[in-house]
Symmetry: C2
Subunit: 175 residues, 2 copies
């Protein structure tokens, strides 16, 4: 695939995306050692996911975006926030891209969209995320869009072999 052939769309997910999103998330879980999900565990129920997507679409402080390349969903980016008033301004960021599509700038494009969405939400005032310290490529991306490391958490995660990993807590204030 040459870069010229790529047609990229970043947009909010809708209920009809449920099947493709479930498949993408399961694949990411199998492919990456950097996330909590590991490809095992309960398969995501498509119908339940479609219902969740409808609720996310209507939420003022939650969002799920998808990256679509040549018609296929190959990445997701989300902001999750509480409905509790004391925490409603606090958005937790999650982002994933299928391995075959790493290096095409999809992560950056989705992060830019998430930050724009947060700024326009009028309610999100802090974005935060956690990332394994060994995942330097992701950390560099987050730094490029303005995130700062607030803490390095020892034993914040562990590998499938039981080795403990440092995890960085990063944040970006939204004004």
């Amino acid at each position: 695939m040459t870069r010229e052939e790529i047609d990229i769309i970043i947009r909010e997910a809708i209920p009809d995306d449920a099947e493709q999103i479930a498949a993408a998330l399961q694949q990411v879980g199998r492919e990456t050692p950097y996330l909590v999900m590991d490809g095992t565990g309960a398969a995501i129920e498509v119908e339940e996911l479609a219902q969740n997507l409808a609720e996310l679409y209507d939420s003022i402080n939650n969002v799920l975006m998808v990256a679509i390349v040549n018609g296929k969903i190959v990445g997701t980016a989300s902001v999750s926030a509480s409905n509790k008033r004391r925490m409603e301004h606090l958005g937790e960021v999650g982002i994933s891209v299928l391995k075959d599509y790493w290096g095409f700038g999809l992560g950056r494009a989705m992060m830019d969209s998430l930050i724009d969405w947060a700024a326009e939400s009028g309610i999100i005032r802090r974005l935060e995320l956690t990332v394994q310290k060994r995942n330097q490529r992701a950390i560099q991306l987050y730094e490029k869009v303005g995130f700062q490391t607030e803490a390095v958490m020892p034993r914040g995660a562990k590998t499938d072999d039981g080795e403990f990993l440092d995890v960085c807590l990063m944040s970006l204030l939204i004004d």
Copy 2:
């Protein structure tokens, strides 16, 4: 109430505690400005809670403890951990005491019990918690039992008046 009259028990919660725990948590939500819960929102269903307590009691990396003073549940302390393998060793601590019972050392007693439980669990290897920076009494307690501040998070919470608050991330490694 003089200190001599107090009979204190700290123990793991059982399903029969559900009604008293629900009442205590609701009261705490109304009384304290330091927690996420604020006394509004869906009341806790006693039956559902009893079911949860049964699951917690059987869990190897989750626990809910109660502080009982003269037969009444006046405080709770919990460790919540994921069933995902990559995060199963990571316990999030939550603790609450009814206002009338502040200053009697219940928080300290429950924290000691939680830490002992974590050390004996064989699976929990890091305890973490978040606490509003203005809640200095709680922070001093956590420091006394060994927790260290890893980060001060700007806008980590907000008051009911919309004022942003710093929140401390604290952790304790369990070996």
